[in-house]
């Protein structure tokens, strides 16, 4: 059959060429599509086209819905509809008919139907549901073409959740007798693997069968899957290396049928796939690499023909050779190959040569040196793409000696480039280089100025953030810090005196922050001058409200008496009534602080701005508030996802036992990670090169702490001081004219810059020497910024920046959901402003908070709350451990009064004895002892006066606890300096995070007057938690029976070897939970308060977090327990 087809096909062209006139004559006059197309081409305006198409669509609509339309007509209509859609007109009415056509037509009509469906509908379209049946039917068809079409459509647009419906049928096709079907089935499965890897997990061994298929087409299709699998797990497929090498050998030797040749090159696609797989397998693996040396050599040798496709193979070969364990003679050949690419006159090859150089520069910097003149030429290439790629290469070879030249080249490019993506990328790189290798303050600040003004509002938000942090944290020398800041201030003042309206918002924000923070460093600068300049920014129409808040914050820091006050008053009056709440808030702050200088010095202490503010990141100072609210009957906090879940649960009964993946929400672990995920895409790098990633990571997170600073005060440092004064005068507006700026930059560069068209060779030589300086002398290891300590100028102090950052984040949303990760933070304008100015803000914030607290609380609530809480902390920390602290004789003395069954002899440890209340005559102390089924609470009453007291009576109560008196010992008379003890048994009525015991003691003084003293004592829930020993089976039955549940993600102790076990052990130790069983990535844990108050935990390792699902028959218990789990893990 296929022979016939072949013949007819070859006859087709001649059939067509019967028609002697090319082009227009081919338009069939009677086809409706032809009419439509011709109609459109005759039109002159877009408007007319629109009218025509609308008319056309209307008539199509009429016809498709008519019952008399045959499938054949329908096919023709569908083709026209596709055309209209391609022109950008919606024809959604036809979608259903496309599906119908795919369902009912004959083969050709079906094909058009499928085509229309694949063009019209996207994966999420609901009509796709209707397609499943058609696909199922066609997959089972005996007509091969129908099967092919079904497989094609399946690989194109099949929604994830419908895959199971057709998977068995597709799988079956793997053993079809026709190779085309097998091939399509393999590719369809590959597609499934990409969208839903876990659904095709069970057919991995069938992939192996496909790899061994006798048809090379099927085999090469299966390589797609293997490439993907090996990328994810190279270790698992090392055994296949030999097979891949053998296949490649056969391909290279031309053993495949001629059909697979492409321009006389045997199966180039297959070769490239194999090379890519080999490079993954051989990476960092010497023994595996050794297997492939021979064939790589062979491939290099064979690929000689001067054709694109051979170059494609060579390029892949070179990449492979540089990726796997190195072998010197192969490297040599590869280097020669790269040389051919770079020197080629064909621009595409030159481009790839540059890319290859960028790829190998880490291993072989000398290669770059060999081609330095070519690189210089590429730098001035008229094609921006080549230029851009050259800059990418230069970025990799930057060191302290050539940084000025390279950064200048980059900035030159930035001024020309129109592409946003490139701008964002390059701006990030310039900022990175400037920070890493800055030669002097002036250059650094000016470079950053250009970065901010060119990068504008598009650039990554962490560029300004990290710049400000650099200014804030400073370096090792105070004097040095001062100079840098002073220079920045001066430079910004002159910018503001120019035309600030041209500056991007982000830059203005940076400027206002710096001025607010450091303008006092310049003694000659009156605050009111700065304030006026800032006020000008407020009046600008272009300023966004975010910028205005920054400006207002800066003003708040500056308005310290004098003429500044009037400016401040004016501004705060204007914005105090702004509709923007953020602005209004800032204006109010400005107003209040400017009027109350005492408050201002407290809130914004100038001198201490450099000291890290101690921040309680666990927000434990709010615990009392939370527990009080809970005690007062407030519902415990539930994170949003849980609330949603509950809502959806209340709507429909979920019978599914488990298997949901929990959203990662807890900020507790993500706050430490300051980098936004977008950062990865910030610098576009070479393909799949992990070293590049790690390099990037190290440079942005600045692993520079603790490195000895060598670059020092000699040289330019000494000379700079007079320069600074000059710079202030001479740079009135360095940003206004880019060319001017460029000139100035070049004056700092170490070599003259070549003009746009470099004429003299000498100039190029000079540029080369300044670009490639330091490359030759240094060993390859010192490239890529791996060991550049010696030239590092800006080195941050070791001040655990992460910590302060995370705490400021915690502070900014003290009561709200903690789930907003650090990622959002960087993007969120209002919060990011806080982020940068952490120290000041925390002052303000904590002030706000205390105000808020006291507002909610009784008059003395605030301080008292804190005090009791901190005391309570110590109690809970020392909860279980027995106390034999020699420094506390008082404790010991009291401990001896413990009832016999509770004292140390019984083996039950008691908690620390704390003073709960004291007056002239009585000292009340308390402690608790954990027993298996309850908590014994002991009150020690000590008569501290010199006279005895009578009728001592103690009452203890708590709403959530059942209090039963074990031994009241109502002493008739308590002699001077003697002690009596009351003992209570506590069990939980209603769970709470903390239990507040309220106690009253009545006693009679000798004088006869009846006295009453109140006291309170707080117990955390965890004192009541007892391990619950159950078997896994019991656990299962209990799990299903319990109704109250909570889900949350907790931080996982990922630094341990077995994170799950380690984390559960911490919980076990701290909270006395019982670990029932750990199976793989899941662990089940049980505990109870009383035997009838159990709580079950299901823990699962998921995406670096511990996904915990708690269930209990007791309402609120899961939430309260979760709270303690969180704390236990955080305090570890």
């Amino acid at each position: 059959m296929s022979d016939v087809v072949e013949k007819t096909l070859t006859a087709l062209p001649s059939l067509l060429s019967l028609d002697s006139q090319p082009g227009s004559a081919k338009l069939s006059t009677n086809s409706k599509l032809g009419n439509l197309i011709r109609g459109i081409t005759e039109l002159t305006s877009k408007h007319e086209e629109e009218k025509l198409i609308q008319r056309e669509l209307l008539s199509i609509k009429e016809q498709v819905s008519s019952p008399n339309t045959t499938m054949r007509q329908m096919k023709e209509l569908m083709v026209r509809t596709i055309y209209c859609e391609m022109l950008g007109y919606q024809a959604s009415f036809s979608y259903i008919h496309a599906i119908k056509l795919a369902q009912q037509g004959n083969v050709l009509e079906k094909r058009v139907g499928y085509l229309a469906v694949s063009l019209f509908l996207d994966e999420s379209h609901e009509l796709l549901l209707l397609l499943v049946n058609t696909v199922l039917k066609d997959l089972q068809s005996t007509n091969l073409i129908e099967v092919c079409m079904a497989l094609t459509v399946v690989s194109q647009m099949f929604p994830k959740d419908m895959i199971p419906a057709i998977l068995p049928l597709v799988e079956e096709k793997l053993s079809h007798s026709k190779e085309i079907i097998r091939r399509k089935a393999v590719l369809a499965l590959y597609k499934f693997y990409l969208i839903a890897p876990n659904q095709v997990q069970h057919i991995h061994n069938k992939f192996r069968k496909a790899l061994c298929d006798k048809d090379p087409g099927v085999m090469s299709a299966s390589l797609h899957i293997y490439l993907q699998l090996i990328q994810e797990n190279p270790e698992g497929y090392k055994d296949l290396t030999v097979s891949f090498v053998t296949i490649l050998k056969q391909v290279v030797a031309g053993k495949l049928p001629m059909d697979f040749n492409y321009h006389c090159v045997p199966a180039p696609w297959l070769q490239i796939h194999l090379l890519r797989i080999l490079s993954l397998l051989g990476k960092n693996d010497q023994s595996t690499s050794e297997i492939m040396y021979e064939i790589l050599d062979e491939s290099l040798r064979r690929a000689e023909m001067n054709h694109n496709i051979t170059y494609a193979i060579l390029y892949e070969c070179v990449k492979c050779i540089y990726t796997i364990h190195p072998k010197s003679d192969l490297l040599e050949k590869a280097a020669k190959c790269i040389g051919n690419f770079v020197l080629s006159s064909r621009i595409n090859l030159k481009y790839l040569g540059l890319k290859a150089l960028t790829y190998v520069v880490q291993q072989d910097p000398k290669l770059v040196l060999q081609h330095q003149m070519t690189i210089i030429e590429c730098l001035d290439h008229p094609d921006l793409i080549i230029k851009r790629e050259t800059l990418e290469l230069l970025f990799r070879i930057t060191n302290a000696q050539n940084v000025t030249v390279i950064v200048e080249k980059m900035l030159d490019f930035l001024r020309v480039s129109k592409d946003d993506h490139t701008t964002i990328d390059l701006v990030g790189k310039v900022a990175e280089l400037a920070e890493k290798y800055a030669t002097d303050n002036e250059w650094f600040i000016e470079t950053m100025n250009t970065v901010f003004s060119v990068g504008g509002d598009m650039m990554q938000p962490d560029i300004p953030n990290s710049f400000l942090k650099l200014l804030l944290d400073g370096f090792d020398s105070v004097e040095e810090d001062r100079k840098l800041r002073l220079f920045a201030v001066n430079s910004y003042i002159s910018l503001l005196q120019g035309e600030p309206s041209r500056l991007p918002q982000r830059f203005l924000q940076v400027i206002s922050w710096v001025l607010g923070e450091y303008s006092h460093l310049n003694g000659d600068l009156e605050p009111d001058v700065v304030l006026r300049l800032l006020a000008k920014l407020l009046d600008m129409k272009s300023s966004s409200s975010e910028t205005k808040s920054w400006v207002l914050m800066a003003m708040t820091k500056l308005c310290s008496g004098g003429a500044a006050l009037s400016v401040a008053r004016e501004v705060s009056e204007t914005y105090g009534s702004s509709m923007d709440t953020m602005l209004r808030q800032r204006a109010q702050e400005l107003q209040h602080l400017s009027q109350d200088s005492q408050l201002q010095t407290r809130v914004l202490p100038q001198s201490s701005s450099q000291e890290a503010v101690e921040v309680d990141s666990s927000l434990s100072f709010l615990d009392w508030f939370v527990s009080e609210a809970l005690a007062a009957g407030a519902a415990p906090y539930k994170p949003p996802h849980q609330r949603q879940e509950e809502m959806s649960r209340s709507k429909a009964l979920s019978l599914e036992p488990y298997g949901l993946s929990l959203p990662i929400s807890m900020s507790s672990c993500s706050v430490a990670d300051r980098q936004s995920p977008t950062l990865l895409s910030m610098s576009s790098g070479l393909s799949g090169d992990s070293t590049e990633l790690s390099h990037k990571g190290s440079s942005t997170t600045l692993k520079l702490d603790g490195v000895k600073r060598v670059w020092g005060r000699e040289g330019y440092l000494a000379q700079r001081e007079p320069e600074e004064e000059a710079a202030q005068v001479e740079t009135p507006a360095p940003l206004q004219s880019p060319s001017q700026q460029g000139d100035k930059d070049s004056s700092h560069s170490q070599a003259p810059t070549p003009t746009q068209t470099p004429e003299s060779e000498q100039e190029k030589q000079q540029l080369a020497s300044s670009l490639f300086v330091g490359l030759a002398s240094q060993s390859s290891a010192s490239l890529m910024g791996k060991s550049e300590q010696t030239s590092q100028r800006f080195r941050r102090k070791a001040r655990s920046p992460d910590k302060s950052l995370s705490s400021s984040e915690q502070l900014t949303n003290p009561l709200g959901s903690p789930s907003s990760g650090a990622d959002n933070l960087l993007l969120d304008c209002s919060i990011s402003s806080e982020l940068v100015s952490a120290p000041e803000q925390t002052h303000l914030q904590s002030l706000d908070l205390t105000a808020a607290n006291s507002a909610c609380d009784a008059p003395d609530g605030d301080t008292k709350g804190r005090k009791t809480l901190s005391r309570d902390d110590s109690v809970s920390a020392a909860d279980v451990t027995p106390h034999e602290d020699p420094d506390r004789p008082k404790d010991l003395r009291l401990a001896s009064y413990l009832p016999a069954e509770l004292s140390g002899l019984s083996g039950l440890p008691h908690s620390e004895i704390t003073l709960v209340c004291s007056n002239q005559s009585l000292d009340l102390s308390a402690c608790h002892v954990q027993k298996d089924d309850s908590l014994e609470f002991v009150v020690f009453i000590k008569n501290s006066s010199d006279t005895s007291v009578h009728q001592v009576q103690v009452q203890v109560s708590c709403e959530e606890l059942e209090v039963s008196c074990v031994c009241d010992s109502p002493a008739e008379e308590l002699k001077s300096h003697s002690v009596t003890v009351c003992q209570y048994r506590l069990t939980v009525k209603r769970p709470s995070v903390y239990f507040e015991l309220a106690g009253v003691v009545h006693y009679q003084l000798p004088a006869g007057s009846l006295q009453t003293e109140q006291f309170s004592h707080k117990l955390p829930l965890k004192s009541f938690i007892r391990p619950l020993a159950v078997s896994t089976e019991d656990y299962g039955t209990m799990w299903l029976a319990f109704s109250h549940d909570t889900k949350q993600n907790l931080p996982l102790l990922s630094d341990e070897q077995e994170p799950l076990t380690a984390t559960l052990n911490v919980l076990k130790k701290k909270l006395q939970l019982h670990v029932v069983e750990i199976i793989g990535k899941e662990g089940i844990v049980a505990c109870c308060l009383r035997p009838d108050q159990p709580c079950l935990l299901h823990c699962r390792e998921h995406a670096g977090m511990l996904a915990v699902w708690l269930r209990s028959p007791v309402p609120d218990l899961p939430d309260c327990l979760l709270y303690h789990c969180q704390r236990a893990l955080r305090e570890r």
Binding site: E6, T8, S14, L27, T152, K191, A221, N308, N348, R388
Partner: protein, 154 residues
């Protein structure tokens, strides 16, 4: 893996679009617009490779028609260029000295050929001969022949 393949004319008219990963209509329109803005102003004999966002763009002009493909980061640009070329060869073989008008008026055929050649963004059939065979079998071919024959223009 190819992400998309676009064919458009010098005048910026879209002739064929194939998306290998799901995108919303708005995103598609943006990609099409950006591609035209990026590719059309390029001078002859400049580099055929471009960057767009995190994708590599490979384009080639054949007569009045631009073939433009978006690649993922690890893909080989030269190879993609050859993919475009091979597609043109296939079109050429099917239409016989293919020109833009062939593709305008028989765009569904161009789609069918593409479907036989690429599947899910990966090369399905590297042998030119086999694409031709699977392109049309028995009745499909007859149908096509019938169409061609019945048209008086030929």
């Amino acid at each position: 893996m190819l992400r998309f393949l676009l064919l458009f004319s010098r005048q910026g008219k879209l002739r064929l679009q194939k998306w290998f990963t799901p995108l919303s209509d708005r995103e598609k329109k943006k990609v099409i617009r950006d591609m035209m803005m990026l590719v059309l102003p390029r001078l002859p004999r400049t580099c055929n490779f471009l960057h767009w966002k995190d994708l590599k763009i490979v384009y080639k002009r054949y007569a009045s028609l631009y073939f433009c493909a978006g690649l993922e980061d690890q893909d080989n640009e030269l190879l993609a260029l050859e993919v475009l070329h091979r597609y043109v060869e296939l079109l050429d073989k099917y239409f016989g000295n293919v020109c833009e008008l062939d593709i305008i008026f028989n765009f569904e055929k161009a789609y069918f050929i593409l479907d036989e050649f690429l599947m899910g963004g990966e090369i399905l059939e590297t042998s030119r001969f086999a694409v031709g065979v699977s392109m049309e079998e028995a009745d499909t071919l007859q149908e096509t022949m019938e169409e061609y024959m019945s048209k008086p223009a030929y």
